[in-house]
Symmetry: C2
Subunit: 445 residues, 2 copies
């Protein structure tokens, strides 16, 4: 089973609603927008990611004959709906904020304009895709901001929430500025640089640590990075120094060592000294082990002689904020703008655009969210992506999105760059949008 493009990867209510839409012939144009209601704790900004997977889903979404037969067997669905699903293809328009762009609450990440049933049915998977990658890119960008240019590597697959989460976390963190991932399949699928060393079990499987190091070096002569903390970190560093001349005779250089437990700054200093005094100044130190952006900041600010960092669980699960309060809401149907007014969850109606205005220092100053027809100064963030179910431009490469992310981070005001919450970024709701909301409210019972 490859569930990722199945029409059935959705909430049941989408299908029950579709049955009513199809029966009532409610096929007119619907406008849905996906946005985040508020920033999660510990976040000053969001970084858009996942759009490419959404577009793939729009192009590939299908229902199989097995799935249709199963739907029929539940006795819940009429043949009109089953025939509709069988022939379903996306024929709508998409506008979106490009991947790698920094954005804020109330700003639509994506707008779907399509016949109501088509647009409705997208809700669950669209949220599933954009919530996760955006959350990961937004978290990973925090590590990038504090790492001071040191390479960061995603080590998170083992505690990612399933296979797709591991692959998408590798992609989203690379987009946000990580140097690569340990996940081999992500390397193949997304052309992301892959990194890897050895596990403690490799050392344990050998009768002694030095033999383990030698065997590893012979097997990976171009990539000799040796794990030091299976038994005693500094003792292992001395074994690396002792082994180095033998390896050198065979043309093999020790590229680096990895620390994975204990006080990483303290071990790094001691190991750096042992390596330098042992004639291995070129050997780099990679640190791993429950790292997050706060520990990265502490290690980097403290001047620990660590050359690169592997970040796993905290990033790949976005541990301090494992979801975004995002919503995919109907903003217009059959030419009539609408909005939800549920307590604490009211939304702004209609089709919207976001204009970003820059300060004299060239950095982000504030954003204005307004109706689509209300042209404002500044850079419009939503761009046309698909029309009539077809892409308007070739797929943006991950490298291009990663470059955009880096450029965006460089334009972030200082107040938003710190790990602590500062003054919130100014997102203004334009007069014309407020006026539209009042008009809509007058017409809803």
């Amino acid at each position: 089973m490859n569930p990722c493009s199945s029409v059935l990867l959705t909430d049941l209510y989408q299908l029950t609603m579709l049955q009513a839409y199809v029966e009532q012939e409610m096929m007119e144009t619907a406008v849905f927008e996906l946005f985040v209601r508020r920033l999660p704790p510990h976040r000053n900004f969001l970084m858009a990611a996942g759009l490419e997977q959404v577009l793939n889903f729009l192009e590939q979404r299908r229902v199989s004959q097995t799935e249709l037969a199963w739907l029929e067997s539940t006795g819940r669905f009429h043949s009109t709906l089953l025939r509709y699903l069988e022939n379903l293809r996306f024929t709508g328009d998409v506008q979106a904020i490009p991947e790698g762009t920094i954005f804020f609450p109330h700003e639509p990440m994506i707008r779907i304009v399509a016949p109501l049933p088509q647009a409705q049915l997208l809700e669950t998977r669209l949220m599933n895709l954009l919530n996760f990658q955006t959350m990961i890119a937004s978290k990973a960008a925090r590590s990038v901001l504090v790492a001071g240019g040191q390479p960061l590597i995603d080590f998170g697959l083992r505690r990612a929430h399933g296979a797709e989460a591991g692959l998408f976390a590798a992609r989203a963190s690379y987009l946000a500025g990580f140097a690569g991932t340990a996940t081999v399949l992500a390397g193949m699928e997304y052309d992301i640089p892959i990194y890897g060393t050895m596990a403690h079990s490799f050392v344990q499987a050998h009768r002694d640590e030095a033999t383990a190091f030698e065997h590893f070096a012979l097997a990976q002569p171009e990539n000799v990075v040796l794990l030091l903390d299976t038994y005693d970190t500094e003792a292992a560093a001395h074994k690396v120094v002792d082994l180095a001349p033998t390896l050198q005779q065979q043309g093999i250089l020790v590229k680096g060592v990895r620390l994975d437990s204990g006080d990483l700054a303290d071990h790094a200093r001691k190991v750096r000294r042992i390596l330098d005094e042992g004639g291995l100044p070129q050997a780099q130190i990679l640190a791993s082990g429950n790292l997050d952006e706060y520990q990265l900041q502490r290690l980097v600010a403290g001047g620990a002689p660590i050359d690169s960092f592997a970040v796993g669980t905290a990033m790949t699960t976005s541990a301090d904020a494992p979801s975004l309060d995002c919503a995919y809401k109907l903003q217009e149907y059959a030419g009539r703008p609408c909005r939800k007014r549920s307590e604490g969850k009211a939304t702004w109606p209609g089709r919207k655009q976001v204009y970003r205005q820059y300060g004299q220092d060239g950095r982000f100053d504030h954003d204005v969210v307004t109706t689509l027809d209300d042209r404002q100064p500044g850079e419009p963030l939503l761009q046309p992506i698909m029309a009539g179910g077809r892409r308007l431009l070739p797929a943006r490469t991950l490298t291009e999105s990663r470059q955009r992310a880096a450029a965006q981070l460089a334009l972030l005001p200082d107040s938003l760059r710190s790990l602590e919450g500062g003054r919130p970024y100014d997102v203004q709701i334009a007069h014309s949008l407020q006026e539209l909301a009042r008009t809509v409210d007058r017409f809803v019972p």
Copy 2:
């Protein structure tokens, strides 16, 4: 791409280690065990889940020719490794704690006994599978414990971390005692009951709320559950009452209503009264909206007239503890027990069994972790599952595992049933295991 059974769904270091193992002909039997180092915050116990997916992975894991060609193109791997991967099949033994069983830190969930490269290569995906479902089942069980028998439904797919997380969360929460899920594909794949109502967009797409309710009832006459909070919850309840006679003339009963925002207890009381006074005592109330086990407990303990609850993001992301501190460690190689002694991460060596001892009240009293040859009184938790790469028994059905989970929860001591941390459960490390650790340490440099 269906990544779920790919050999490349792994960390690069598994492949670099395998290259050394294959070249050094280190093919002797390795024993790995997966366990959790410590309970996550806010948890008193863990519930085993995900074993069935592990067994499927062991049976189905493959490398495709495309993947082999890509591996070769990286220039990192020798042909000996590529040939090894091409012919890789799992031929080992598996012992494990059955799904639905409650267990605790330091207790091996699963043991893999296989030639070293086979067993090593499993690490990443085994952890990925067992970490997630066990985490979700352990979280979902907390909601089950406080819900007082009211049905709970998984609504989490949209904020699950990708497709597989959504499907596995539906499975693991059903295993732990949820009544079903909104995720259609999980219903098909795992034969889990599916539930669904309507979205706010359905109401918004209609010119008035009453028409929306009527259209929905006509499309789903057997499943009329109407969402009340798009504009004003109590006003909507009155509309349901007004509509009911018209529906009844067509033989359609209002099965229930759904509340999704605001003070759920207060709305439930008001809506219950409106429905009762309006002649709809049979209409049930379903509550949803950022629920977790703490809010469930408050609503149930407060006597809110809510008949069932939908739980989404908090459960599906295990928001307060989005990972387990689990590890997959080499415990023996070529007949020689071993262990890792890294700071704060030392492990117990050798093949182990866990014995559960029951108190006079029939409930769990304490567990003993010991070496495999040290028979202790009590119930042994690890059972033989596979031998020589083949299952010893037919796959346990999800229903059977769900029954086991319910039986286990019934045997949980009161101190572990509350949402707050109580006295930790007593897990004893037997003398023979401590002795083995000392012996191992004497022989490791």
